[in-house]
């Protein structure tokens, strides 16, 4: 490879290769959607679409607002302020990430709905006529999904605030701003690209959610897709609905671009000093502690306790040696998928750094589209693509059987199609913080692009790589529909077990595998956040 002038086509080709799996899955979905039944479509337009569009929009906006408000304020408090318990909360506020949204949803409904323990106790105290606002409402669902997804924003925002660290505080203080004015006037504008990235992840996750919305019986695009498929027996019409949903995603992405504004991921100041935190003294400090504690309790501690109580009840019957296998399967799939997504995200991110062309950019957009597609729709695309590939293999190589379908490779393809976006965001942010001047210097020293990636970028990407691994790992642990539809025999995961219990309405029995997901997820979350915190402190 010529060191002086890196090949122009290389990055574009690499980016397109990374986008190929998703492109194939998309093609399968589009192809399927062309078979949509016009009569069913007319019915949906008349009786279903207006409602689900309005519901979906309300949900996404509400959840993003809650998640951004919680995530940004908590990140600011723990990164730039000092208050009692800050060290603990800085780390603990990541933990709700390990709790799947559908688990938080069923804990909320089981404890806070009319027949749940809390309203029942309240009626016992205040009389049977006491009207408790129903948790199974739009507001209740927005709150649940907000608590489940704020860690995405918290993670991104905290990274940004720590990077800008002391500089921002000094700037804010020199302008005479207090901590909140500093946040609003200086830190948020600087952190906009990260906040927009976190908000986009939350929006896409909400668009694709099926578990939590079905627990709340709230009709969105996803439930309409399921109904068309399961109830109207028309997978083609379901796929057409999914395509329409992708239109929504396009709007979300455009909104993200706007929200980023002209802001760029800015390079870390090489002279960053250890962060000087603003001390919140007296009542203000305790108020900050109370806020952090409340979010931690609602997002992790209380649901964790509820889960643990139910799990203990069923453990004598349901807990056995199989759980070792479930946990190992879950962890190994999550690890494989995290590595695969990271590798592809690095290729994609690097390609986009080397080439600013339209094709490269478009390839990145397509490759990361899957995060907003309901898992089950992606799974239909994946099995269709694999079916086609298996057919081609049989034609070429002869013989019978399935080469890809029902293998771990099929699962990984599904995970990559779905979760590449989750790895790509942090990697992109990491790349952006590396000054181009460093690259130019490396190139002038005669290093090839591959060497620059390995020797310059990877070490500097540090936190971005950790974030990418963590997010994909945790998402795969919680993933249901793709795992269900493409897993090989014997590859049952903890999420599969949760599905089987909840599908039969046995939520309390589902608490055991759900708790296992949370506990198994804690280790990687704790490990990676601890490392990231340490790296941030070192910087």
């Amino acid at each position: 490879m010529n060191a002086q002038s890196p090949p122009r086509a290389g990055p574009t080709v690499a980016a397109i290769l990374v986008a190929l799996p998703m492109l194939a899955v998309l093609a399968a979905i589009v192809h399927g959607a062309t078979g949509a039944d016009p009569a069913l479509w007319a019915h949906l337009t008349e009786h279903v679409l207006a409602r689900v569009v309005a519901n979906t929009a309300a949900l996404v906006v509400g959840v993003v607002v809650i998640a951004v408000a919680l995530g940004t304020s908590l990140a600011w408090l723990t990164a730039a302020c000092e208050f009692p318990g800050r060290g603990f909360f800085a780390w603990a506020l990541y933990l709700p990430m390990a709790v799947p949204a559908y688990v938080l949803a069923f804990v909320a409904v089981a404890t806070l709905d009319y027949a749940g323990a809390v309203p029942t106790a309240m009626r016992a105290w205040f009389g049977a006529d006491l009207a408790v606002p129903p948790i199974r409402s739009t507001v209740g669902l927005i709150a649940v999904l907000g608590f489940a997804s704020y860690p995405y924003v918290y993670l991104m925002a905290r990274g940004a605030f720590l990077t800008h660290g002391a500089r921002v505080l000094e700037a804010a203080q020199s302008l005479g701003y207090g901590p909140w004015a500093g946040l609003v006037r200086v830190a948020i504008p600087l952190a906009r690209p990260w906040l927009a990235g976190g908000a986009a992840l939350v929006a896409m996750e909400t668009l694709a959610d099926f578990g939590a919305v079905s627990v709340f019986n709230y009709d969105t695009f996803t439930t309409a897709i399921y109904k068309a498929w399961y109830g109207l027996f028309s997978v083609e019409t379901a796929l057409a609905l999914a395509l329409l949903l992708l239109g929504f995603v396009a709007i979300t992405m455009a909104a993200e671009q706007l929200a980023r504004g002209r802001g760029r991921h800015t390079a870390a100041d090489s002279g960053t000093r250890a962060p000087v935190r603003l001390a919140l003294s007296g009542p203000r400090g305790w108020l900050a502690s109370a806020f952090a504690a409340a979010v931690f309790a609602a997002g992790f501690l209380l649901p964790g306790i509820a889960l643990a109580r139910w799990a203990l009840e069923v453990a004598p019957v349901d807990l056995d040696a199989r759980y070792v296998t479930y946990i190992l399967r879950t962890l190994s799939l999550a690890a494989m998928a995290a590595l695969a997504c990271l590798a592809l995200a690095l290729v994609l991110g690097y390609a986009n750094r080397l080439s600013k062309g339209f094709a490269t950019h478009a390839a990145a957009r397509i490759a990361t589209l899957g995060y907003a597609v309901p898992g089950t729709v992606l799974a239909v695309g994946v099995v269709t693509v694999l079916g086609g590939l298996d057919g081609a293999f049989r034609t070429l190589a002869g013989g019978e059987g399935l080469w890809l379908q029902g293998t771990v490779l099929a699962l990984l393809l599904g995970y990559v199609a779905r979760f590449l976006a989750v790895a790509y965001g942090p990697v992109l942010g990491g790349f952006a913080r590396i000054r181009p001047s460093l690259e130019e210097a490396a190139r002038s020293l005669g290093l090839a692009p591959r060497e620059i990636l390995a020797r310059l970028h990877l070490p500097l990407l540090g936190a971005g790589v950790g974030t990418a691994l963590l997010l994909v790992f945790v998402d795969v642990m919680k993933e249901m529909p793709i795992t269900l539809m493409t897993r090989p025999f014997g590859w049952d995961t903890l999420a599969v077990r949760v599905f089987e219990m909840t599908a039969e309405g046995e939520w309390q029995r589902a608490a055991l595998p759900a708790l296992a997901i949370v506990v198994a997820g804690l280790l990687p979350v704790a490990l990676l956040t601890w490392r990231m915190e340490r790296a941030a402190r070192a910087a």
Partner: protein
């Protein structure tokens, strides 16, 4: 052909003997049996393994909802490893048959064990457990004498006192489909709209939640699959909700099935048929249903004592396969009536 003779026997001992006799040429006894099951792990896995041990073969299974399993079978096509498909509602069996994924099975054993309205006339699928969807009422606030038909739940006296599960639930869709078959779209839609007008709370995402809401006093009457109540009564003996068999003076209570069929491309067809026959045999039928408080499809087998305590009832005996055919119409009706 020689298999046919063995299959006619209902005695497990003879079946095992037959397996030994025919193991040589057919080499079927060693091949694993592959089951795609929408009936969930905790309800079937033990029986699957037991069958495998009895036959000296491996039984491999994956679980998922019916629709994704059908999609998986479709994508795998002729090379699918699946031998048996098991669903939890008649609609999915009907659809799998329509999609050409199941093959007809002629088995005197199955035909003798399973009543005609619970199996496909051509043998594509056979009901294995019966789930009745009927009226549930609060024993604290409702007398059985106040109840009669599903349609009467739309009467003014139940205004603000009715709870329902979501219209997205397949069990409600098949209930509506049955009514469309019995009394036409218009009368059914009037009935459903009257129900919706009587709701005490937003529809629930599952029957268990709804039954608990009834027990807690949020509403007085509802519609449930009987086994959900069976589980709750099993956990709490004095659970204050009871079963009422609906439409006994009319066409009978709505029933659906959990059932199975042999896949079109089954590699292990003889074993698949034998497996279904084993599941339909009296001893296994009892356990297959009992684990979930359901009714055995085999008419000669008693349900659990606590299920029997709900009393005998007349089921609607129109073939359950018709439910599948009408299900899309039912879903559209549910959408029009605003049953979310």
């Amino acid at each position: 052909m020689s298999f046919r003779i063995a299959l006619q026997s209902r005695l497990a001992a003879l079946a095992v003997l037959a397996g030994i006799v025919f193991v040589g040429p057919a080499q079927a006894a060693g091949e694993p049996l592959v089951v795609y099951s929408a009936r969930k792990y905790q309800l079937v896995e033990q029986l699957f393994q037991e069958y495998g041990r009895e036959r000296g073969i491996e039984v491999k299974s994956v679980t998922d909802d019916g629709a994704p399993l059908i999609q998986r079978l479709t994508a795998e096509g002729a090379n699918s490893p699946a031998d048996v498909f098991i669903s939890v509602d008649a609609g999915d069996l009907w659809r799998a048959t329509q999609a050409g994924l199941l093959q007809p099975v002629k088995s005197p054993t199955l035909e003798a064990a399973i009543p005609a309205h619970l199996r496909d006339p051509e043998g594509h699928w056979f009901g294995l457990a019966v789930r009745a969807r009927t009226i549930a009422y609060s024993t604290a606030r409702v007398k059985p004498a106040d109840l009669s038909t599903y349609a009467a739940l739309g009467d003014a006296r139940w205004k603000g006192k009715l709870c329902l599960r979501s219209g997205k639930a397949v069990y409600n869709q098949s209930l509506v489909a049955m009514f469309i078959n019995d009394m036409g779209v218009e009368a059914t839609e009037r009935m459903v709209r009257a129900w919706i007008g009587n709701l005490a709370a937003e529809p629930f995402s599952n029957d268990t939640l709804m039954l608990k809401a009834m027990a807690a006093g949020q509403c007085d009457v509802g519609i449930t699959n009987s086994y959900y109540l069976g589980r709750l009564q099993n956990e709490q003996k004095d659970f204050p909700v009871q079963i009422f068999w609906a439409d006994q003076a009319g066409k009978g209570t709505h029933v659906n099935i959990s059932g199975g069929g042999v896949t079109k491309r089954a590699k292990n067809r003889a074993e698949a048929v034998r497996f279904l026959e084993w599941l339909a045999s009296p001893a296994i039928q009892q356990r297959f249903a009992a684990v979930n408080f359901e009714f055995p499809a085999n008419a000669g087998v008693d349900p659990l004592p606590e299920v029997k305590a709900w009393g005998a009832f007349k089921p609607n005996s129109v073939n359950v396969g018709l439910i599948g055919k009408t299900q899309p119409a039912a879903v559209m009706l549910i959408d029009r009536a605003g049953w979310h």
